[in-house]
């Protein structure tokens, strides 16, 4: 081999070497592109095919009333899912599932046509259906136990409780407000999956022991009072043809809410079939012009400031008083001459109150309204609270200020009114209203106790006593506007209210659409309960004294009967069913017996008390009960008692009385 040819040969070898190395550099570049540049994207694809995960929610904790009565419970139900990757013979599986579940066959076929290994078919099905599915033992069809929220007392306290949806997520009310606390920490379970669909357990991450800090909540609500309030409110709303209404019962000493009810209401077990209007907790979300129930706050402020005394006499201008460009009249065209302060409230004189307010002055009036909690949220532990509208005194014209004195032109929530009334009742301290009393963990230990929170002193105990005595006169005095709330042997302080609703379409206060209200507390000497009744647009009887005061009275009477007779009040819990199976909620106390709700159960004698003759007859007809009546007015007594099963043609005797 010549030197020259050898040199050429070596050149050619070297050229091949260089070419090879270039190719190898290309390989490294490509690997860089795949693993570093696109690594994240491809890694996600890898995770998607390698990992399967499922979020497990711990069983949602319970909600109890103050006596340990379960208001929201959790029951385990079965849910069905299909695994399209392992399911054989889609049509056959679909038709079998469809016949048991009543789900459309096409829907199941569609679910089975999906890629992947998990598709819900039906959730929270009845035990009977679950048993049917289990018996079929179909390849690729699986059942999982899922917790379902369950409200054993149906509508009871529905607006307070709210509701939780699928996957145990709180959507409304306390379920929403205390969602974090009730639901605990969801656990994510991850496992691997090979290309043939087998599961592989991955040894990663802290698995089981998740710190479970979920708590059950105990409310300040007393479900007996809640029941009384709800049934009386319902009766009133139906009887008066009102659009809706709210009742709040509070303990003025603590600010604890004992009952809060609204109409219309809903069954949280089936929340999705009710309109949003029925699901709103209007006692905290809705504002209205309070009307005359607002007068005591103005009077209390004036008394507190010493600007007036109880014996002061005000000229009520014989029923017409000019303020600015407007003439102020009394309600129902009354004409008063000279009235003392107790008389002004007793007869609910608008002109008298305006004159008291004029002595108080805009700035002081505004300061006291703020101190009573108007114009800001009360801080109650319920979602969606409104602030109401309390404008700045600089923007008040003379006439605005005057009408505000009798509750027109200020916007408040029922919650604000009730909590303001508590301050008058309890000796002058504004308490923060609350519904939750304590949080209890899994082991039953109290994790947190909600103590009463005083927000500030509004008036002195002396002023409180004065105004209480004045308000007692409203109910007990001869010709007082609140006489319909009067109960023998019980000293009740109260105030009626009828406010014209602002009509947004015409931009004026409507003469026809009113909110009728009554606000009161008892016993006057040592107030234990404040009750506010608001009826929205009652048709047949529009005045607070005539429409709302009787509701206050009936509620108070029943509460007293209930507490006088101790615990022998029959529980009223309606029994709810899940699917076809009847589920009796586990009672926390042995004495708590579950009786069917006479209002709902068609096979027992209903509670006629408080109904008119016409209503009694209509209800009796619908349940095929023969009725024998005596007297006129409202039903006051019946035999057999409510809740007794209807037997054959046995007649029911109902006694009516004007006095109620």
């Amino acid at each position: 081999m010549s030197a020259k040819s050898r040199k050429w040969l070596r050149f050619r070898v070297a050229s091949i070497l260089v070419f090879s190395l270039v190719l190898y550099v290309a390989l490294v570049s490509r690997a860089f592109q795949l693993q570093i540049v696109s690594g994240e994207t491809l890694g996600k694809l890898a995770d998607r095919q390698h990992r399967k995960s499922l979020t497990l929610y711990p069983e949602r904790r319970l909600i109890f009333d103050r006596n340990g009565q379960q208001l929201a419970a959790t029951v385990m139900t079965d849910s069905v899912y299909v695994d399209p990757s392992t399911a054989e013979d889609r049509r056959r599986v679909a038709s079998k599932l469809s016949s048991i579940l009543g789900v459309k066959k096409e829907k199941i076929v569609k679910a089975l046509a999906n890629e992947g290994s998990f598709r819900w078919v039906a959730r929270q099905i009845s035990p009977a259906r679950a048993e049917g599915i289990r018996a079929l033992n179909l390849e690729g069809v699986h059942l999982v136990r899922e917790p379902k929220r369950f409200y054993p007392h149906r509508e009871l306290a529905c607006h307070l409780l709210g509701f939780a949806g699928l996957d145990s997520i709180g959507l409304e009310g306390l379920e929403l407000k205390y969602d974090e606390c009730l639901k605990g920490i969801p656990k994510k379970v991850v496992w691997g999956r090979d290309a043939r669909g087998h599961n592989i357990y991955l040894d990663e991450g802290p698995g089981g022991a998740v710190d479970d800090r979920s708590c059950s909540i105990f409310l300040t609500i007393d479900s007996k009072i809640q029941y009384i309030v709800e049934s009386q409110l319902r009766r009133a709303v139906e009887g008066l043809g009102a659009k809706g209404g709210s009742v709040i019962v509070m303990d003025p000493r603590t600010g604890g809410v004992l009952a809060m009810a609204n109409e219309p209401r809903f069954n949280p077990n089936d929340f999705s079939s009710y309109p949003a209007d029925a699901r709103r907790n209007r006692a905290v979300t809705d504002c209205f012009d309070p009307g005359s129930v607002f007068k005591p706050f103005i009077v209390a402020a004036a008394l507190e400031e010493g600007l007036v005394s109880e014996t002061d006499v005000f000229d009520c201008e014989n029923g017409s008083y000019v303020v600015g460009d407007r003439v102020i009249h009394e309600a129902q065209s009354e004409k008063f001459k000279e009235l003392t302060i107790p008389e002004i409230l007793k007869y609910s004189s608008n002109i008298g109150t305006v004159k008291i307010a004029e002595r108080l002055g805009k700035n002081l009036a505004h300061r006291y309204m703020t101190k009573f909690g108007f114009g800001s949220k009360t801080g109650v532990d319920l979602p969606g609270e409104s602030t109401g509208i309390l404008r700045n005194p600089r923007d008040w014209r003379e006439v605005d200020f005057a009408t505000m004195a009798f509750g027109q032109g200020i916007s408040v929530t029922a919650m604000q009114l009730a909590s303001g009334m508590c301050a008058i009742a309890n000796g002058g301290v504004l308490m923060k209203p609350h519904v939750v009393r304590r949080l209890v963990n899994k082991e039953g230990a109290t994790v947190k106790e909600f103590e009463p929170v005083p927000l500030g002193t509004v008036i002195s105990p002396e002023t409180s006593r004065k105004i209480t005595s004045i308000l007692t006169g409203v109910v007990e005095g001869e010709g007082g506007t609140g006489k319909n709330a009067h109960i023998v042997n019980l000293s009740i302080a109260g105030k009626t209210g009828t406010s014209q609703k602002f009509d947004f379409t015409s931009g004026k206060y409507s003469a026809k659409k009113v909110a009728a209200s009554f606000m009161g507390f008892f016993p006057a000497q040592d107030p234990q309960m404040v009750i506010l009744v608001v009826l929205d647009e009652p048709e047949t009887s529009r005045w607070g004294g005539a429409a709302a005061a009787p509701v206050f009275k009936r509620v108070t009477e029943q509460i007293l009967r209930c507490s006088n007779s101790g615990m022998d009040v029959q529980d009223f819990a309606a029994v709810e069913t899940v699917g076809e199976a009847r589920i009796i909620p586990a009672s926390t106390s042995i004495t708590d017996m579950v009786y069917p709700d006479p209002e709902e159960d068609e096979t027992v004698i209903p509670d006629f008390q408080g109904m008119s003759l016409r209503e009694v007859l209509r209800m009796a007809q619908s349940r095929r009960i023969e009725i024998k009546t005596a007297g006129t007015g409202w039903a006051v007594h019946q035999n057999p008692a409510p809740g007794v099963p209807i037997e054959g043609n046995q007649p029911c005797y109902v006694l009516f009385d004007r006095e109620g």
């Binding site: 040969l9 070596r10 091949i16 090879s20 190898y24 390989l27 690997a31 693993q35 890898a46 592989i200």
Partner: protein
Amino acid sequence: MGKEASVTRGRPDITLLVVTVILVVIGTVMIYSSSSIIAMEKYGDGYHYIKKQIVFVLLGFGVMTGVSRIPYRHWGKVAYPAALVSVALLTLLIIPGFGTTVGGATRWFRIAGISFQVSEMVKVALVIFLAHYLTKKVSRIKEFSRVFLVPLALLLIILGLILRQPDFGTAVIMVMVFMLMFYLAGSRVTYLVGLAATAIPAGAILIMQESYRMRRLLSFLNPWEDPGGTGFQIIQSFISFGSGGAFGVGIGNSMQKLFYLPEPHTDFILSVIAEEGGFVGVVVVVVLFSILVLRGFVISFRCDDLFGMLLASGLTAVIALGAFINMAAVMGLVPTKGLVLPFLSYGGTSLIMCMMVIGILLNISSRRGQEETTAEAA
């Protein structure tokens, strides 16, 4: 005395040996990692493949050691017999009943439980034959009919037989090695260009004739068009690479070997390496091959006689091309071919032939510039 001289005057290429050992060790570990679950599924024994591979490794090192002691000039003597045996065995394969068919391709003889892949041997045989033939005809290298025609005829016969198996990938390597050796021997570039000009349309026709080749080509061009079907294999390979990222998921932790990757212990072993060892692992493997190829060509470069140079270059090119095509294929740079990765993939014939190549290269490296030693040993 002669033996002493060969030891003192020409040391075998230690780097080449070390790189080879590292590659074989990596291969053995990765074959175990990638095959154990498949072996469990198929044979109920997770060690099924690794046990066989360890035997092949021991055999391979034996062959390498033995071959490194055979003076490389002796290989010239077996040039013609090797070519004849290659043609004979390839012919035998296409006669029904002799060959063993795996995955639609008849590439193996199976004697007493041991499979033998003919084309692995044929590649080496072709290099030996060409090195010997071209060394003898080097003076008339520019003459077409005298020098070019005979090897071309042999190549065409071999190609025809290999394509019958079918084994398109090996055929491509044969053509490239053939051209490379003629290029090194100083053949007219026009012949080679002419050969390429004929081979490319021929290849195109072959691809279009076979629907599976066409599908492979189309899925290579756009695998994401049908990720569940034709693009599945290459996409799974991409996912392995991406899943590994920079530093990998750790040895033994590949998820892709769980039936997502086809043949994780043979064709797609680099994908498993990429997933478990990450970009770092892939770079290590590519660098090891680069060093191996570099040493192979350096041995050729330093060799004094033409036969040794051509032999060393040709054999190095066989490994370099095999490794490149396999790695490029699993990364989606060239269409998938069904070629194994030298030293790393599971497979007895491939490993033993590669070790034999290393043995020959080691021998050439230890005898460079030692004309008389070579003569003496011969």
